[in-house]
Symmetry: C2
Subunit: 315 residues, 2 copies
């Protein structure tokens, strides 16, 4: 009997297991810690797996990451070396992330907080606004998610650039590449969007020094930060200090160093913070499970796997 194992201790996995049963009717769907016979397990979906669980599955063929980020799998120090890791790259997840990014860029651009305050105060104030073409959006990370968001922002009229490890060719999007072009990317950016993978290089990248390099002469008066990558990438004390000093006009944060965000975090009630609970791109379990089932069917027929994670890059 071939089994599919969820190793997702921090999740309430019942809905996932039910959807996977529908998507993979010929496999036995199991949930850690109820592994059963370890030799049965051919496939696993993992999120913060406890040490030695994946390592002790002698017939494991593929590990699936159920989101775009694989940091919660790579953090297992006992992760077996020779098992391919597949990232779920469903169009559904990409489309949802772009919805989130486009909406937050537009809310900052159109000054939705000011409009809402005017409404509360019954103030009919049609204040002057800039066209999207006056704003320079910079997307850090041009993987599948970053590329899609960048294209959609360009199509809405924003001046869009992207920053990534290697140079990219995306219609309508200026490409900056590598550490040596980071400063040039930051200094031309009014709205910084972070969609980077979580790696050692990106840990703590969004800090006070980086914020100071953003464009401070743009149409909004001060730059805006939108992070939908990973909380590890932002130095939260630096972001709060930059909001206080006026080095940041406003921020949209979907991810935090500690999630759920603790009750005493100043982000909750800061008037220039849009806070979302790591919900920028929550795919429905049914969509993700269908994706995984199709990948398994293809793998069993052809031996081919798409969207493999490169462990040395970390994404």
């Amino acid at each position: 009997m071939s089994a599919f194992l969820f190793v997702t201790p921090t999740w309430d996995g019942d809905q996932w297991a039910n959807e996977m049963k529908k998507a993979l009717p010929r496999h036995d769907i199991r949930k850690w810690p109820a592994i059963g016979e370890t030799a049965d397990v051919r496939y696993a979906a993992a999120w913060l797996p406890p040490p030695n669980v994946l390592r002790e599955l002698p017939n494991l063929k593929v590990i699936f990451s159920l989101g775009a980020g694989v940091d919660a799998i790579l953090s297992d120090p006992t992760l077996p070396d020779n098992i391919p890791i597949v990232r779920v790259n469903s169009p559904d997840l990409t489309m949802r992330m772009s919805e989130h990014i486009v909406m937050h860029v537009l809310m900052h651009h159109r000054q939705q907080a000011r409009i809402l305050a005017n409404q509360r105060n019954k103030t009919w104030d049609s204040f002057p606004q800039h066209a999207a073409s006056a704003l320079r959006v910079g997307v850090m990370g041009l993987g599948v998610l970053g590329e899609d968001a960048a294209k959609k922002l360009a199509m809405l009229g924003f001046q869009v650039a992207g920053w990534s490890r290697s140079r990219k060719s995306i219609y309508g999007v200026q490409s900056f590449a590598g550490a040596e072009e980071l400063d040039a990317f930051l200094t031309r950016t009014d709205i910084l969007v972070c969609l980077l993978p979580a790696t050692a290089e990106t840990d703590g990248l969004i800090n006070r020094a980086v914020i100071k390099k953003l464009a401070h002469n743009g149409p909004l008066g001060a730059p805006v930060l939108i992070n939908a990558g990973r909380g590890r990438q932002q130095v939260e004390a630096d972001i709060l200090a930059a909001l206080e000093s006026g080095e940041l006009l406003a921020v949209s944060l979907d991810v935090f160093g500690k999630e759920p965000l603790p009750n005493d975090s100043p982000f909750w009630s800061h008037p220039r913070v849009y806070l979302t609970p790591h919900s920028a791109a929550d795919s429905e379990p049914s969509v993700i499970c269908t994706y995984v089932a199709q990948a398994i069917t293809q793998f069993e027929k052809t031996g081919q796997l798409d969207n493999l994670v490169d462990r040395t890059r970390g994404y």
Copy 2:
């Protein structure tokens, strides 16, 4: 001396006059009521012109409407019959309107009001959300503005249909045409976007009967209305009643029967109303004046005028 006359009694026209002086340096720029020698006036920009002002300009060649809607010109009962009316159709105005429509569709779709309330209450609640592909947006009016908004919404993944007088062919957008297809259009629509011109046929179109025909079994539970056309098109008491009864989930209104919206309007403080002060697509005067100057240059060279208003259609 050729003169350009602003007949815009309800506007503070100084900024407009200054921009027009830069754009048309060889014309004398005048502002009603300081018309001067009427025989000089070859071009006029009008908004709610007083009766007989345009009629008494013997050498008037073109009337310009400085926005997409021409109802405030056609409402002049003494409007001279034989003078062409040109609508400003600048890409800037179109892009801004699409920003507004896309942002409001996304805010309803992603339940931004619920997310903000959760933030205020320090509630980390990643509630399930539908993909854009689950929502059916219906755009009433497929002129330059409606077509651009519809295309951008389709590109974000929404199921988009449009309704217009004549059938349109727009990639990714289902076309409904004429009074006989209005009901079919409404019953498939979860989010209704109104970008119609103000004509006798569209006056009062958004009423209780029309609202009742919208999709009431969609993913949001009840339909949403976004009006950025004209206030005349909406029956405001019907919208309020539909919000109360649950026939409408929420609305975004940029236009009102009376503007500025009176202080005692219940729309200001309704929790399910996003209110904007007729600011969905305010172009900068410099952009509009450049557009008008280019149209005049082309007209003087070739006799050709683009974006002519059809008075019998009313737009």
